[in-house]
């Protein structure tokens, strides 16, 4: 499928230099000299790298049809994350590299969306937030009232994030898996 670059929208998948990229941002821009442009930020689905690229707005861009399918996360090894499509029991492996830091926040047995193109799993669609239990954290000293102060906490998936001092072991917190930021408690 082809489209004019001027129609590109966030979330779409395109072929650029023979690789598949997801549009992270697409902003119209007219320099007033020559044709209008589409300034885009695109993410390579294989390497996970982001680049800025300026398309001419009337340039043909090949779009890639990518399905996002909800699957159960099974486990990971050194190279891949493994998922199962519960409708078909087919298993898919997603390479760790493009997933990046978000992989550390996935919980075995939970469901996540996986991007599939021609039956090949390219990446996961990182959830907006994940809910994870704290397994290790220091007790805050009484009288420590510095506002905004943080301490490290180990979560059930093994990853460590910074949390406010009032958070305790056993509590479930909400984290943005792309930035590792604490956003609240359950």
């Amino acid at each position: 499928m082809k489209t004019r670059a001027g129609n590109l929208k966030k979330g779409e998948f395109v072929k650029y230099q023979n690789e598949t990229w997801q549009v992270q941002k697409a902003d119209f821009y007219s320099p007033g000299k020559g044709s209008a442009m589409m300034k885009a930020k695109i993410k390579n689905l294989i390497t996970g790298k982001n680049i800025d690229y300026t398309f001419k707005s009337n340039e043909d861009v090949e779009t890639v049809s990518v399905e996002s399918v909800e699957m159960q996360y099974l486990y990971k090894d050194m190279e891949n994350l493994y998922f199962m499509d519960e409708r078909t029991y087919n298993q898919y492996s997603v390479p760790l590299e493009p997933v990046g830091e978000a992989a550390k926040f996935l919980k075995e047995g939970e469901k996540y969306f996986v991007y599939l193109s021609n039956e090949k799993a390219l990446n996961i669609r990182p959830p907006m937030s994940v809910r994870l239990k704290i397994v290790e954290v220091e007790e805050a000293d009484k009288g420590d009232t510095v506002s905004g102060a943080k301490k490290p906490a180990k979560l059930e998936t093994g990853v460590t994030v910074m949390v406010p001092l009032f958070v305790k072991v056993g509590e479930t917190i909400i984290v943005n898996p792309e930035t590792g930021e604490y956003t609240g408690r359950e």
Partner: protein, 334 residues
């Protein structure tokens, strides 16, 4: 399409108001005449890179086509020829097919000013003085902080288009002025060249590789002398290859576009015909060409230089905003 009120923008909006006041104060001190202009016009200057809004005036079954002006140029230059002296307009302009984005809006505010008896380089000095004047009004200093970086208005960082292509895109002078070689170079750089002209590829490489580097060294950057294909209504330099045109940037954002104005009516008419033909080829809205403008040039446009500055973009810099929408109290996303 929704109408949104954005009262959280009040602080930034008030800074934009101060920028506006400072501009009026500065230009009137420099004896530019402020002029209010029609927004609806029966004819326009043909510009191949702009699309326009068309509407109709109706009265007892008779209808007449009118166009929202994409720039005040056609009015201001007539007035120059008629003897107003240096003049300026600060008001709304309209450009169709330019969706809302951080730096674009189909309706926006333009500052366009013309100074008599001067060329683009001299007008650049006055623009710098105006930026300094605004900074002092807003910040009590000749500098401002934009997105964490300091910008001082005591001098320009100057770079020619030729030098910028050499430095940032590794494209030499010979390749820049030779269309075939330039297109080959673009192909080498893995740009899509199929069905694209020299002008298209120049703009693409300019936006992708040059612009992000401009206005990054603590001063506004003035980039000057564009290839003649981008002369628009500017005079050519003696080299015959470049036009007397400059643009200026802060933090990679284009803020203004200046020409030494073309006064030769025959050359102007030739460029009009060429632009009108391009518009037709591109399938853009057909509009009557403002012939009276050519008549005004025949009568005699005085030697002058003019600059168009995107007001919202300029105010955005002084208000430390990252999008022109952050200055507005009412936003409509198109």
């Amino acid at each position: 399409m929704k109408i949104k009120t954005s009262i959280q923008n009040l602080e930034k909006y008030k800074i934009a108001l101060k920028v506006e006041q400072a501009i009026h104060e500065f230009l009137q001190k420099k004896t530019y005449l402020k002029v209010d202009l029609p927004i609806l016009s029966p004819s326009l200057i043909p510009e191949s890179y702009l699309e326009i809004f068309e509407t109709k005036f109706r009265f007892f079954g008779k209808a007449k086509n009118l166009y929202l002006t994409p720039s005040p140029e056609l009015f201001l230059k007539r007035l120059l020829a008629d003897g107003t002296g240096s003049n300026y307009y600060l008001g709304k302009c309209f450009r169709n097919s330019e969706p809302s984005s951080k730096l674009h809006s189909p309706e926006f505010t333009m500052l366009e000013m013309y100074k008599l008896g001067t060329d683009y380089l001299k007008l650049a000095n006055e623009v710098l003085e105006m930026l300094k004047f605004i900074a002092i009004k807003i910040n009590n200093k000749t500098e401002i902080i934009y997105q964490g970086n300091k910008f001082n208005f005591l001098k320009w960082e100057k770079i020619s288009v030729v030098r910028a292509f050499e430095k940032y895109a590794l494209i030499g002078k010979e390749e820049l002025f030779n269309k075939e070689r330039f297109i080959l170079k673009a192909k080498e750089k893995r740009y899509n060249i199929k069905n694209f002209t020299y002008e298209d590829l120049f703009s693409q490489i300019y936006v992708q590789e040059i612009e992000p580097n401009l206005g990054r060294n603590g001063y506004p950057t003035m980039i000057y002398d564009y290839p003649k294909e981008f002369a628009a209504l500017a005079k050519l330099n003696n080299d015959g290859k470049t036009a007397q045109r400059f643009e200026f940037y802060i933090d990679g954002i284009e803020l203004g576009d200046c020409y030494s104005e073309l006064t030769d009516w025959e050359e102007q008419e030739k460029r009009f015909i060429d632009e009108a033909r391009k518009r037709k080829e591109m399938g853009k809205t057909n509009h009557p060409i403002d012939k009276g403008f050519i008549e005004a040039l025949k009568y005699g446009l005085p030697e002058s230089s003019g600059i168009a500055i995107g007001f919202e973009r300029l105010a955005m810099i002084f208000a430390d905003a990252t999008s022109i929408n952050q200055l507005k109290l009412i936003n409509i996303d198109l």
